[in-house]
């Protein structure tokens, strides 16, 4: 399985900006499309913000369903701090919750308006 070391990809130990997050998101999305499983490595990432994770990880829920994402994207939890682990978990749960809410609304709209 290919290991994606975030620090090498974004060329900094600060995972904070939207443009760096977008770059990582595109890379991960392309790996899913190519059906190429990857392991994400957070080694030496000093600062990680939810703003970064929302784009890099949260947006993946719009690319594929959870089961497909789990098939191709894995996390090396030993390379992250407790705070980073907690943030990633929070972003994933929030994205999943919001997406299912949105889908419910869409279904409701179809039922109501045909």
């Amino acid at each position: 399985m290919e290991r994606i070391v975030i620090k090498d990809i974004i060329k900094t130990d600060l995972a904070v900006t939207a443009d760096k997050a977008q770059y990582l998101f595109q890379l991960l999305a392309s790996k899913i499309k190519e059906e190429n499983p990857v392991l994400i490595d957070f080694t030496d990432i000093r600062i990680l913000t939810t703003a970064f994770l929302n784009i890099a990880i949260g947006e993946l829920y719009r690319v594929e369903k959870s089961e497909i994402l789990n098939k191709y994207i894995s996390f090396d939890v030993n390379t992250m701090t407790n705070l980073q682990f907690s943030k990633i978990k929070m972003v994933m749960s929030n994205s999943k919750e919001k997406l299912s809410k949105r889908q419910e609304e869409e279904i409701e709209e179809v039922i109501l308006h045909g």
């Binding site: 600060l14 904070v16 900006t17 000093r46 600062i47 990680l48 913000t49 939810t50 703003a51 929302n54 784009i55 990880i57 949260g58 947006e59 993946l60 829920y61 719009r62 959870s66 994402l69 789990n70 994207i73 996390f75 939890v77 030993n78 992250m80 701090t81 407790n82 705070l83 682990f85 907690s86 943030k87 990633i88 978990k89 929070m90 972003v91 994933m92 929030n94 994205s95 999943k96 919750e97 919001k98 997406l99 949105r102």
Partner: protein, 304 residues
């Protein structure tokens, strides 16, 4: 900003005598600020009077800095009264505020408790990081766990990005203070762009008051951004501070705060503050609340 003897009483913003962070002090100053900018006649000068300010919480320099900047954006020439209280003057000299506006030289900080006042472009990530890593964190001459340092750094970056995203403001104003005796670090970050309530009200269909807008913005998943997964920045800060410190947000007419215990309160300002000011107070003692990060990563794992 110039130093000058005050003559025109009507153009003065008189600073509180005990200028700590509380509703009364912020309300009093923003009321005077609004009165001044709404005056008829010659509106070219504004004076800040610190003559009676015997105590000044250094982190509130950020608040003053945003008012000065707003006045300058409205083409005011801003002055500071010559008869500034010596204690307050020392604080403003130590943190570089007076030097930035060419009102005096910067003096050294004997007690190593001052975090310099800076105004930086919000996209200058490296400069912000250097400020936090080389100036803010090393100044804590007190043992802290690496986890605590990470929480502080992370919260500051979350706020900076939140401010940048909400306000579309180019500049971020920052300053802080260590209170060695109380074992706490207080840090203030502000901007003079679109306020949080205005942004929330514009992007939701709710008829929120300004304080309700802040309450909405700090809840999990609520965001004005068009990214489904967004809406965690302020929520994350609020949750990370539970048992660790407090958070105060002043924006437009809102004065909103959450205590260390998690208890929230708010009051409406009598006049609007022209931006967003976020003040975070971190307790430097490690508390049992840290246990919330002791997650079993091996067992829990991370799955989509």
């Amino acid at each position: 900003m110039r130093e000058e003897i005050v003559i025109e009483i009507k153009n003065i913003i008189k600073m509180p005598s005990n200028f700590i962070l509380n509703f009364a002090n912020i309300n009093r100053v923003v009321k005077q600020f609004n009165h001044l900018v709404n005056l008829d006649g010659d509106n070219s000068k504004a004076y800040f009077n610190f003559a009676d300010t015997n105590w000044f919480n250094a982190e509130l320099t950020t608040f003053i800095g945003t008012l000065v900047s707003s006045l300058q954006q409205m083409d005011y020439t801003v002055y500071i009264s010559k008869n500034i209280n010596s204690r307050t003057k020392t604080i403003l000299q130590k943190n570089g505020f007076l030097a930035m506006y060419k009102l005096g030289e910067k003096i050294s900080d004997t007690y190593d408790s001052t975090i310099p006042y800076i105004v930086v472009k919000s996209e200058e990530i490296k400069q912000i990081d250097s400020y936090l890593e080389e100036i803010v964190i090393p100044k804590i001459n007190y043992h802290m766990s690496s986890e605590k340092v990470e929480i502080i750094n992370s919260a500051l970056f979350e706020v900076i990005h939140n401010i940048k995203d909400h306000s579309q403001s180019d500049l971020v104003f920052m300053c802080g203070q260590y209170y060695h005796k109380n074992r706490k670090l207080v840090f203030a970050i502000a901007d003079t762009g679109v306020t949080i309530p205005v942004n929330v009200q514009k992007n939701t269909n709710e008829n929120f008051s300004d304080n309700e807008s802040i309450s909405w913005a700090v809840e999990k998943g609520n965001s004005t951004k068009n990214i489904p997964s967004s809406g965690l920045g302020l929520y994350d800060i609020k949750e990370n501070l539970r048992g660790q410190g407090s958070l105060c947000i002043v924006s437009n007419f809102a004065y909103w705060e959450v205590q260390k215990s998690g208890k929230c309160s708010s009051r409406e300002l009598a006049a609007s503050y022209p931006g967003s000011l976020i003040i975070i107070s971190f307790s430097l003692d490690d508390t049992s609340e840290n246990n919330k990060y002791n997650l079993d990563r091996e067992t829990d794992g991370l799955f989509f």
